[in-house]
């Protein structure tokens, strides 16, 4: 029999046809997705919807990192888990759901917290990273690892009725990193996560879906391929979302670019992979809250 002459398998044309016919998408974008390896750090309120739409769209390899187990209190917003999987590793629970949605791509599970010790080993297996974590320590760590390994980073966060989304280190070495925007961590007393401060499910859901969209669009337009010449970083924008009383409100604001003296990404930066692994104490950098956390 003759070899299959088409770049995608028959079942892939079936599964992805409805996005391939979108003007400006097409076969090339689908092949780029198929060749991409995407890491979702955090399988919670952001990571669940983000991973669902990345898996649906057909990225080649989808990795999830998280050390936590599913709890009942997660389920109002962490829609890839289930009541029957309470107590199971979040990474395995999410992959159980994702495999049912799309069994034709490769999933990788990392049932551990991303840490200074494992960041290089984990992040280096992927081309693009989504920060779906819930604490400043992990946000600085994920960003530093992406800077050192040259990976673009789609960062989102949510709390109560608000959300934020920004594309960082894109193209790698050109766009600002998390430290460029926030060189000093917030005082620990001001840091409250969704567990303590609460969040509406669809608020964090919208931000997670938008992370998947930003990732898919970046991959589809060739954003992971080596740029020709000195491609400039695009204008840097952060999307700010508020679920206010009279409906959803989105605001796109202009952010600064790279910081010339950034500790992580500037030309004189002190940060190296070895340094990250051996001597950056993110917990100490961000501090530890006194018992009463307030805002």
């Amino acid at each position: 029999s003759k070899p299959w002459p088409w770049p995608l398998q028959h079942h892939e044309y079936q599964r992805y046809g409805r996005q391939m016919i979108v003007p400006g998408f097409g076969l090339q974008a689908q092949l780029r997705l198929k060749n991409s390896r995407v890491l979702v750090v955090g399988a919670g309120g952001l990571g669940c919807p983000a991973a669902a739409y990345l898996a649906g769209a057909g990225v080649g390899v989808l990795g999830l990192v998280d050390a936590d187990q599913v709890e009942v209190s997660n389920l109002h917003r962490q829609v890839a888990h289930s009541t029957g999987r309470v107590g199971m590793s979040k990474v395995l629970s999410a992959i159980a759901y994702l495999r049912e949605l799309n069994p034709t791509i490769t999933y990788k599970s990392h049932q551990e917290h991303l840490s200074a010790a494992n960041a290089e080993a984990v992040v280096s297996q992927y081309d693009l990273v989504l920060d779906c974590t819930d604490h400043p320590t992990s946000r600085y760590l994920v960003s530093d690892a992406c800077v050192l390994l040259g990976r673009p980073l789609v960062s989102a966060s949510a709390f109560q009725t608000s959300g934020q989304l920004i594309l960082l280190n894109s193209p790698p070495g050109r766009g600002p990193c998390y430290r460029c925007l926030f060189p000093r961590p917030p005082p620990p007393e001001s840091v409250v996560g969704c567990g303590e401060g609460g969040v509406l499910g669809p608020v964090v859901g919208v931000m997670g879906v938008l992370q998947a969209l930003q990732a898919i669009e970046l991959i589809a337009k060739g954003g992971l391929e080596p740029a020709e010449g000195e491609s400039e970083a695009r204008e840097q924008r952060m999307l700010i979302f508020s679920a206010v009383a009279d409906g959803p409100s989105f605001r796109s604001v202009r952010m600064r670019g790279r910081r010339k003296d950034c500790f992580a990404c500037s030309d004189e930066a002190g940060l190296t992979l070895e340094h990250l692994e051996t001597s950056v104490d993110y917990v100490q950098f961000c501090g530890v809250a006194k018992p009463v956390a307030l805002l």
Binding site: G44, D134, F159, Q164, L181, P187, S242, R254
Partner: protein, 113 residues
């Protein structure tokens, strides 16, 4: 775009100040405030963002937890300031001189997920 005078005849400017990401709870749970400020500070210099932050602490904030907004005389880390939808670092930070009709948005950076 309003420039007016207060009852003592001092020039005032009116701006919109917004709070988001949880900061509104320090300001009577009110997201949007329309503020009339003196156009110049007590030393005769045009009112800038530094002056505004001071003014907010002294005249607008009801919450006693001032340290959740300012630390060591400056805005605490983890708060973004957006002047007419641009990061204040693009506009001169505390030194930016306010103009009538400006929109200043204070957003707490979020970490939840």
């Amino acid at each position: 775009m309003v420039t007016a005078e207060d009852s003592n005849g001092a020039k005032q400017l009116t701006i919109a100040v917004e709070f988001s990401g949880g900061l509104e709870m320090l300001f009577s749970d009110q997201r949007r405030h329309s503020l009339a400020l003196p156009a110049v500070d007590k030393d005769g210099r045009a009112s800038n963002i530094g002056f505004l932050i001071d003014h907010l602490c002294q005249h607008v904030m009801r919450d006693t937890r001032r340290e959740l907004f300012v630390l060591g005389g400056h805005l605490r880390p983890g708060i973004l300031v957006l002047i007419n939808d641009a990061d204040w670092e693009l506009e001169g930070e505390e030194e930016y001189e306010l103009r009538p009709g400006d929109n200043v948005l204070f957003v707490s950076t979020l970490h939840g997920g």
